[in-house]
């Protein structure tokens, strides 16, 4: 066990997999000698050699296309897209190719690729370094979408993603790289040091895809969150005084529907939190599932707390970011109905 922040635990996952499996290789913009703009691939080229971890041209479509080709050959590429905001030039490759290759070829070809990409706000990154695009991937049949919320899960989920034979979009909450962030932006920045989820085994382990974590048990209301918002949810629960059960989904495809249903049947109420804008966001799908499967147990309408339906605005970072205050308001509202 070593105390690691999320950058270090992700780096450790990649290090372990490069060591274990010669078919694993990493490429992307600035990931080679430099080690990535967020340092996640730091020293991997120096340790494992140039051809295992190398720089790619600035072409997200090219990066994903070549990763698919390598995957089809039999390798397990782990391409990085520097910011999730930059993934869109590769969208056709992900949607029309990676997601469908197995299906359309009758199982002759498939793309076991893991696309790592930092996402989310809270860093004053403006419109093009802050977005949360998970819903658009969740909508695509054939792609898995994984979002860790702490260093331990990040490593185990990344290893499980790399070993998965389906294409995985692995979204890293960049605001959590160096410490847990609960949305209380006026407070001093925290590090992961001393956090129980920062104790990370040095070697190989996995956290299975499609298995949610009950972060806090409660009786009054079920709160669904993932990524950065798990920590914001905890703060909001604390502020509200509501005895909420908090579920960290960890992956939205595959989705741990059983854990969600079991909890909502127990509490009879549900609040969903995500940072991405609300309309057409993944909260809509969660809300529909809860309503379809728990209708007779529900005592109040499902609440959603999300980013506003605007681009991510630089000056209004904390007006946009759905912080603990909005979470607490939604929890109280869910309890009133």
């Amino acid at each position: 066990m070593t105390s690691m922040n999320m950058v270090q635990s992700l780096n450790s996952a990649l290090d372990v997999m490069l060591e274990r499996d010669p078919k694993v290789l990493i490429f992307g913009e600035d990931v080679g000698y430099f080690g990535g703009v967020f340092r996640v691939t730091d020293k991997l080229q120096q340790k494992h050699g140039l051809k295992r971890c190398f720089d790619a041209p600035i072409s997200e479509s090219g990066i994903i296309a070549t990763a698919i080709g390598m995957g089809a050959y039999g390798l397990r590429p782990v391409p990085e897209i520097q910011f999730a905001d930059y993934i869109l030039p590769a969208f056709d490759q992900l949607v029309s190719e990676a997601a469908r290759l197995r299906y359309r070829s009758g199982g002759e070809f498939w793309a076991p690729i893991t696309v790592r990409s930092p996402y989310g706000g809270g860093i004053f990154g403006g419109q093009t370094h802050s977005q949360s695009p998970e819903a658009i991937f969740a909508h695509i049949t054939g792609l898995k979408t994984v979002i860790p919320s702490n260093p331990y899960d990040a490593k185990g989920l990344l290893i499980a993603s790399i070993e998965c034979d389906d294409p995985v979009i692995f979204l890293e909450p960049k605001r959590l790289y160096n410490g847990p962030f609960d949305g209380r932006h006026e407070q001093q920045v925290k590090s992961w040091a001393g956090h129980p989820d920062a104790d990370v085994p040095d070697g190989y382990y996995t956290v299975p895809l499609g298995k949610a974590a009950v972060v806090r048990e409660g009786e009054a209301v079920t709160m669904l969150a993932y990524g950065t918002m798990v920590h914001v949810a905890l703060a909001g629960i604390q502020d509200s005084g509501v005895d909420a059960e908090l579920i960290d989904l960890r992956s939205i495809v595959p989705l741990d529907i059983d854990t969600i249903i079991e909890s909502v049947k127990k509490t009879g109420r549900c609040v969903i939190l995500h940072e991405a804008s609300r309309y057409g966001g993944f909260g809509g799908e969660l809300s529909a599932l809860v309503q379809e499967r728990c209708f007779h147990w529900l005592e109040a309408p499902v609440e959603r707390v999300a980013g506003w339906d605007t681009p991510y605005p630089h000056a209004f970072e904390w007006d946009y970011f759905p912080g603990p205050k909005r979470v607490a308001t939604a929890l109280k509202k869910a309890m009133q109905d």
């Binding site: 913009e29 600035d30 080679g32 000698y33 430099f34 703009v37 140039l50 051809k51 190398f54 720089d55 790619a56 041209p57 600035i58 072409s59 997200e60 479509s61 090219g62 905001d85 930059y86 869109l88 030039p89 004053f124 990154g125 403006g126 419109q127 093009t128 370094h129 609300r278 309309y279 506003w308 339906d309 605007t310 681009p311 605005p313 630089h314 000056a315 209004f316 007006d319 946009y320 205050k325 909005r326 308001t329």
Partner: protein, 411 residues
């Protein structure tokens, strides 16, 4: 496997890394004045030598030599020098403002100031530039108000972009400067479309676009060239080759295999390769391409060969991936120093005037920063929060109206 030889996987690497002696001796740099200047009406297939050489006007002694000398009046060159020096003074001051916590982000264009300054002056007020984030000198040459730049950088109540955009991603329509975005390359095709629209409308405006050498890898670059070629669009497409894309050397964009100017050949449009630190060479090449565009001869691709002297942005430390002393040995010098040297050589300038101008510009920049600080730095002042919901659509829909109300109720 058969008994054929094994394949090997190739990944390019720069010649040196930190801790080693930097060198640019592998670059073939022809002497100033050596490259021919073809007639503007030349056909592309007659000028396929130009993408493989380097158009230079200013020699080592600061003389303007050869057929590409644009023979500019002294006051024009002094105006260009002023725009470049203003850019540098502004960059230095605002980079420091970031270090002092007054904003979230900044990017300098140090070493590349000749490009925006010269091209801004060659093009007409009604033409449109589709910039990258490193052509501040375009705006400086056109007298964009400095305090508005700083207000944008501070995202304060007077920010002309209403607090919506990351610092330095300006938009300045009245100055022929199209809206910037943080994603790279995606406006290259807009320039071609704008130029096609001008031709379609039988107008007389042309467009100019920039893209970094690293971003030539994006599909946007190749798509734009295809459309520019097919429709003979009146556009000047510029690749600013500053050798570094954050930590990736230009070889990761294919520079070890050919030149960026030579990409033009496959699309059948002229490609010029120009010393980007030579104000006069940039001017002359741009003038040549502009004349082609204005006379229905279509697009030109210009590679502006330069060097990013500083980090990519305030988030970058270039000493982690390139030798710290590499900027000092860039063989094509500093654009400000070279134009200054030329002006002194021809008797149009002197050290005293230069020092006086530098002091004046520094004072001007400090004044603009003070003015913006009085309104507020990042987080200390911002536009009214309802601005966040404006401009998503021409008119906000019910969602935005409801959400604005929800935010107001909660604050």
């Amino acid at each position: 496997m058969s008994n054929r030889a094994k394949l090997s996987f190739y990944v390019p690497e720069p010649r040196v890394r930190p801790g080693h002696q930097p060198s640019f001796e592998h670059f073939e740099i022809p002497p100033a004045g050596a490259v021919r200047r073809p007639e503007v009406g030349s056909s592309e297939h007659e000028i396929r030598d130009l993408p493989y050489t380097l158009i230079r006007v200013l020699d080592e002694e600061g003389r303007a030599v050869g057929a590409w000398d644009p023979k500019l009046p002294h006051e024009t060159m002094i105006a260009g020098l002023r725009a470049m020096m203003l850019t540098r003074a502004f960059d230095d001051r605002l980079f420091r403002a970031h270090r002092q916590g007054k904003t979230s982000f900044y990017m300098k264009s140090t070493g590349e100031e000749a490009i925006g300054a010269a091209q801004s002056m060659v093009l007409e007020a009604e033409d449109m530039c589709f910039p990258t984030y490193r052509v501040l000198s375009w705006l400086m040459a056109r007298g964009y108000p400095l305090s508005d730049l700083v207000n944008q950088i501070f995202s304060n109540a007077r920010d002309p972009l209403q607090g919506r955009q990351l610092p330095i991603l300006y938009s300045a329509r009245d100055y022929g400067f199209y809206s910037l975005s943080g994603n790279v390359g995606s406006r290259f095709g807009h320039a071609v479309g704008w130029a096609m629209a001008s031709a379609y409308s039988e107008d007389d405006k042309i467009a100019l676009a920039y893209i970094g050498e690293g971003t030539t890898a994006e599909g946007d670059f190749h798509e734009a060239l295809t459309f520019a070629s097919v429709y003979h669009a009146p556009v000047i497409l510029c690749v600013t080759n500053n050798q570094w894309a954050i930590s990736s050397f230009a070889g990761i964009a294919g520079a070890d295999e050919t030149t960026f100017a030579a990409k033009a050949i496959a699309y059948g449009i002229p490609g010029l390769r120009v010393d980007g630190n030579d104000f006069l060479a940039v001017w002359a090449a741009t003038e040549w391409a502009a004349e082609r565009a204005r006379t229905n001869r279509g697009a030109t691709l210009i590679e502006l060969f330069t060097y990013r002297s500083e980090g990519h942005s305030t988030s970058d430390d270039p000493t982690k991936y390139r030798p710290a002393d590499e900027p000092a040995i860039w063989p094509l010098g500093d654009p400000v120093e070279r134009l200054k040297q030329h002006l002194i050589a021809i008797g149009a300038w002197d050290e005293d005037r230069h020092a006086a101008l530098a002091a004046e510009l520094d004072k001007t920049v400090r004044g603009a920063v003070k003015e913006a600080e009085a309104i507020g730095t990042l987080g200390k002042s911002k536009p009214p929060v309802e601005q966040m919901f404006e401009g998503v659509f021409k008119e906000p829909d019910w969602r935005l109206i409801e959400q604005r109300g929800e935010l107001e109720a909660s604050s």
